[in-house]
């Protein structure tokens, strides 16, 4: 199990771990712990906006690549617009963390969790 530098850094000391509460927070999750990968994102929107993200937090039960990817994605969130979608193409994300191809499904779970959070914005 070889982890590249980015993966090791985001795995060992991930930014944005945790949950958010209060108004303007939307939450989404994907996967299940029983199946080995579960990711949750909490996104807080800039007060008054229905699109611009103020900050993000995540929780993840999964392999180092899952944790690193979720942390990195959460870190990119501030200032982005919800409608811009997932911060990085999943294949680019896989290259960034040099995840083996078998792990693509786990990175898709990260994307699904993000999309679920975005979809949770009150219309």
């Amino acid at each position: 199990m070889r982890l590249n530098d980015a993966t090791r850094r985001y795995f060992e000391d991930p930014p944005c771990v945790g949950e958010l509460a209060g108004p303007g927070v939307c939450r989404g999750a994907a996967g299940s712990r029983e199946a080995g990968t579960w990711v949750q994102f909490d996104l807080r929107l800039v007060p008054g906006s229905t699109d611009r993200i103020e900050c993000a937090r995540f929780l993840a039960y999964g392999c180092p690549h899952t944790i690193a990817a979720a942390a990195w994605v959460a870190q990119q969130a501030p200032g982005r617009l919800l409608r811009q979608g997932f911060p990085e193409d999943v294949h680019r994300l896989r290259e960034r963390f040099e995840a083996p191809i078998e792990k693509l499904g786990r990175l898709l779970t990260v994307e699904d969790a993000w999309l679920a959070a975005a979809a949770a914005v009150p219309a």
């Binding site: 982890l3 795995f11 080995g36 990968t37 929780l59 039960y61 392999c63 899952t66 944790i67």
Partner: protein, 402 residues
Amino acid sequence: MSAAAGDARPAYLDNAATTAVDPRVVRRMAECLTAEGDFGNPASAGHVFGERAAQLVEAARRQVADAAGARAADVVFTSGATEADNLAIFGVAELRREEGRHLVTVRTEHKAVLDPCRALERRGWRVTYLVPDGDGILDPRRVAEALRPDTVLVSVMHVNNEIGTVQDVAGIARACALHGRAWLHVDAAQSVGKCGLSFERDGIHLMSLSAHKAHGPKGVGALILARARGVLVEPRELGGGQELGLRSGTLATHQIVGMGEACALATAEGAADTARIAGLAERLWRGLEALGGVWRNGDPARSVPHIVNLSFEGVEGESLLAAVRPHLAVSTGSACASAIGEPSYVLRALGRSERLAESSLRFSLGRFTTREEVERGIAVVSAAVIRLRRIAGTSGCAGACA
């Protein structure tokens, strides 16, 4: 992770994969290598170089036999327990093939037993795979029930390499003796120095040993066969006729001398080592149990203390390993299994969920394990579990949410 900062190498808690060779063993081995030493070929009967090497081999055979409670004449040296297991299973199957083609073994055996059994199945043999109880223990009555008139071999390991449980091989031997004509093969690769072996007294027919699990060198082992009780195998390595023709190939004097010395040290110091290791193992368990949501695999009352296998709720297995391994040499499955990278079939056989089996660590202790290494192990694993549970959002739920 700070616990490990500044340390050149991780703490080594992987003695079930392999052990460091005892310096006293190394010294004996070194005497058999160079031109000044006893470098002769033990098969070179007739000149002193060969005779001296043969004497050293015979002295080592005695030491190995003593450690196993066997007769020296019954010890056949091999390249390790893998070869010994293969020789026992294929060798008995070939020898007794006209008497019957049924074997009995256990789901939690080492691959060096299971893979030969699978190969025999492909050639038309029938194999019954028994399942131990949730604590890893096999009731000898299960063996008795599985025996058929055409069963020629039962293969059961003594000390399990993943969870440390000790099977009642004496009871299983009695079951074999009472119900049929099957010979009992015991894989005792992990047993030397960890708990008593009594090949003769327990009525075992064949036993596999390995030196490198007991502070001897890698690449040497033995198959013990109760020749006086008529037990034989069909040889698989043919050629020079060494080892009574049962295993040809130049005898590696230094390796055999090393195994002999390791066995002698195990006989002399095994009990004291084990007592000390029991204290360390207890400390390890208490230290990690405090995390909550930690399960111990195998009944500790029926296990050697050298192996402590724990399942950690609320953390994913690969992340747990990735977090601890830079600071701590531990395993999930056996070293052999880790070359392949599949989840532990042993823990699965004991009824652990796939998830929990994956989130398990095998800590294995040896003669050179220090209290400091154990403390480091506790610190490293505790930090990793706490951090990963926080990331997973499972910190508060030990006991339920894994």
